[in-house]
């Protein structure tokens, strides 16, 4: 009888442990926080607006968001994240843009506030955390702007494709409308995206939008902005060159962690752009089009049994939604992942860029 009780209790505990099991390694990719505009237009009433920190930089709201994102990730992984920051366990990688470098610092500040012996200055409850990055022309991983001849050729083909021409036909009236009101020629989806970014920032900062802007227009422009982000990974090959390289890199780190051949960081964070997230999610076939919010966050979890889970937070305080990977057979292990996404995983990136 006692034995039976023990077995029941044991199996219950086991279940509990199972359901609350901790990952072995995580990868957190996020878009930087709210920033000031990088572009304006001739009829812009807010052209001369004084932004804290200058153009293209994080606003104070954006700074708070990134710090909160760090805190939220800490709260979500309370049982998994170490209480103290140890450089060997954590890696902070960023794109070279200042707003990303700053976002990484803020995210780190929220994720690892100093405790006990790590408090080095009682006046400043913060600790320095190094952020690494590669120069733009070498950064395949986060900025994803490295030169790639074959990709560039395909991208030109995409810009001339029937799909994009159809977009231009469909939006001809809109282009006209926007050009008239902004005083700037808008004749492709990229122009729409830049304008949307600027107008969205005005809305987020409670700056009045002109009479010709309304919610319907903003929603339509957001859809077009998302379409613009998607054409950069239109083909399978383009997915491989962009998001695929990111996937390949984190898969290598996962395999290394599982094999135990080398010490690799348990917590890996990547401070990037909306396009970075779209590239990766499109390579995973998780989305067709998406315009990620400031502070949106994509998380990969690796478990001891080699399974991978992916989560998307749509903004810094957003809902955490598990993503079912369409190409990864259940249980989604590293090997099933590699098998399922073979088509978008580069083997030799540089060679695959040659014509």
């Amino acid at each position: 009888m006692l034995l039976l009780v023990l077995i029941v209790v044991f199996s219950l505990c086991n279940d509990l442990i199972q359901s609350e099991r901790n990952p072995k390694q995580i990868h957190v990719l996020f878009r930087h926080g709210e920033r000031s505009p990088t572009g304006t237009y001739p009829n812009d009433p807010h052209k001369g607006h004084k932004w804290e920190g200058g153009l293209g930089y994080l606003t104070n709201k954006g700074k708070s968001q990134m710090y909160s994102l760090g805190q939220n990730v800490r709260a979500h992984y309370e049982n998994f994240l170490p209480r103290y920051y140890w450089p060997a366990e954590v890696n902070f990688t960023s794109s070279q843009w200042d707003r990303c470098l700053m976002s990484a610092e803020l995210f780190g500040a929220g994720l690892f506030p100093p405790h006990d012996f790590q408090i080095w200055n009682s006046d400043v409850l913060w600790q320095p955390i190094p952020v690494h990055y590669l120069p733009r022309n070498l950064d395949n991983l986060v900025a994803m702007k490295t030169n790639c001849t074959k990709y560039d050729k395909q991208f030109i083909e995409v810009q001339n494709s029937a799909k994009v021409q159809q977009y231009n036909q469909d939006y001809a009236d809109l282009y006209n409308y926007l050009s008239q009101h902004t005083g700037k020629i808008i004749n492709n989806i990229e122009d729409v995206e830049s304008l949307f970014n600027t107008l969205e920032i005005y809305q987020l900062n409670n700056l009045s939008t002109p009479y010709w802007v309304n919610d319907t227009l903003m929603n339509e422009m957001k859809i077009i902005a998302a379409q613009n982000l998607a054409i950069y990974s239109e083909t399978e090959y383009m997915k491989k060159i962009k998001g695929g390289f990111f996937l390949k890199t984190i898969l290598d780190l996962m395999e290394t962690a599982l094999n135990g051949t080398k010490d690799v960081p348990t917590i890996n964070t990547y401070s990037g752009h909306d396009l970075t997230i779209v590239h990766v999610m499109r390579a995973l076939n998780l989305i067709d089009t998406l315009k990620p919010n400031f502070g949106a966050c994509l998380i990969f979890e690796l478990y001891e049994d080699s399974t991978i889970k992916v989560f998307y937070w749509d903004k810094w305080n957003g809902k955490i939604i598990e993503q079912i990977l369409p190409n990864c057979a259940s249980p989604c292990t590293v090997s099933n992942f590699i098998e399922g996404y073979k088509a978008v995983l580069p083997v030799n990136w540089a060679r695959e860029c040659e014509l």
Partner: protein
């Protein structure tokens, strides 16, 4: 008006008409600082190190400690005081550019320093109760960095450095030190056979002393006494000759001169091309190399947060002068270069640097150029090779000609129409 009164009046006029004369700090136009990181743990303990267990140390090997963070925070506060009127208290990327080598302890030192230099005020306050704000720190991987880390591989430099240690002086250093090396090798439990290894060990022992660890008895007779001089000499070796200095610090000085010159040609009051304050976060070797390259290195081991300060003054549109300081204690002491004590003309400084300053393209070319004529043995080998090659060519011509004659001769034996068959 009495005659003697005139000069007095003129003087008075001059004083009032030009309240911002060159003696005032307000003609300060640009500042470049370069510092060593703060206190760290040993990079690597030695084999027989009683403190080689990681548990003796608060952070991993070679990492910045809390003391190091605080020391840099203090240095940041020092900069704030020194440049209170020069550097706005609100952060802007237009005022300051921060660069670091791509190493954790230098990146972290820069961050801690900036916390002291830019405590958020006014619109920079983004979170009440937290006296810190994010500031971007720029770096490139060490293996690509020929300017600050100066770790980008350079073939010619490696060859020159190897040669340096084979010269008479350094061979003599090895000879003089053979007993010391043997002693250190025996007790440290690992091979110490040159001043660079010696400096590594010296550095570890220094850190252990700073952390109040009792050193083993065997160190008493050699540390710091006998080792110090050689550890200090080791910091001079990277830039011991002009050629070495050129390849090690030339790109940095080239950039410095370019930066100062660009600022000088910008008309006063016009929009500046570049930030007025540049911070470089680097290492003891960087400090020693830069000082030694301009002939201002007094042999020593640059301590934590040791800082070189270059200040550009621009009293009028067409004049500019610089002052250089070295701060390895609480005071920044002026550096005297050759025949200039202070307020040295920028052009003069540029001339002093011209033998070593070179841009990255020139650096790349020089690094990959072969060294042939700098040593009689090489010249002899080259001469032999040339003679050999000439002999070979003459021989070859002789054989070809003989063969040609032969084949010509044989052609005549062919039937005339067979050629078209």
């Amino acid at each position: 008006m009495p005659k003697f009164f005139l000069p007095f009046l003129t003087t008075l006029l001059v004083i009032f008409a030009f309240p911002l004369c060159s003696c005032s700090p307000s003609d300060l136009d640009a500042v470049v600082v370069i510092f060593r990181h703060g206190d760290r743990t040993p990079i690597r303990p030695y084999e027989n190190d009683p403190y080689k267990n990681r548990s003796y140390w608060p952070v991993d090997w070679g990492m910045l400690t809390n003391v190091g963070k605080l020391r840099h925070y203090d240095l940041g506060q020092y900069f704030r005081q020194r440049y209170l009127d020069f550097l706005p208290t609100i952060y802007s990327e237009k005022d300051i550019y921060v660069r670091s080598t791509d190493v954790d302890r230098t990146l972290m030192s820069a961050e801690a320093n900036l916390a002291g230099l830019y405590p958020p005020v006014n619109t920079d306050i983004w979170k009440t109760g937290l006296a810190w704000q994010p500031i971007p720190i720029h770096s490139i991987p060490e293996k690509l960095d020929a300017v600050l880390a100066a770790k980008k591989p350079c073939k010619k430099y490696d060859i020159l450095l190897k040669k340096l240690f084979q010269n008479e002086y350094f061979r003599n250093v090895s000879h003089v030190n053979r007993d010391l090396y043997a002693y250190l090798t025996k007790y440290a439990g690992e091979s110490i056979d040159n001043i660079r290894h010696l400096e590594y060990l010296y550095n570890t022992l220094t850190i252990e002393t700073l952390n109040n660890y009792t050193l083993p008895n065997w160190t008493k007779t050699v540390f710091p006494s006998k080792m110090q001089k050689w550890a200090e000499l080791s910091f001079a070796t990277d830039t011991y000759t002009t050629e070495l200095a050129r390849l090690k610090t030339g790109p940095f000085f080239n950039e410095l001169i370019k930066y100062f010159t660009n600022r000088t040609v910008t008309p006063k009051g016009a929009r500046y091309h570049a930030p007025r304050f540049v911070i470089n976060s680097a290492h003891d070797t960087t400090i020693a190399n830069l000082l030694n390259s301009i002939g201002a290195f007094e042999y020593h081991c640059p301590p934590y947060t040791a800082t070189i300060i270059f200040e550009l003054h621009k009293p009028t549109d067409n004049t500019s002068y610089i002052n250089i300081f070295y701060k390895n204690t609480s005071e920044a002491v002026p550096i005297k270069l050759r025949n200039c004590e202070n307020n040295c003309d920028l052009k003069w400084f540029q001339n002093i640097l011209s033998p070593i300053s070179l841009n990255l393209d020139q650096w790349e070319t020089e690094c990959n150029s072969l060294i042939l004529f700098d040593n009689p043995l090489n010249l002899y080998i080259l001469l032999c090779a040339l003679l050999g090659a000439m002999g070979g060519i003459i021989g070859l011509i002789f054989i070809v000609r003989k063969n040609a004659q032969k084949s010509n001769a044989s052609m005549y034996t062919q039937l005339p129409d067979e050629e078209y068959a």
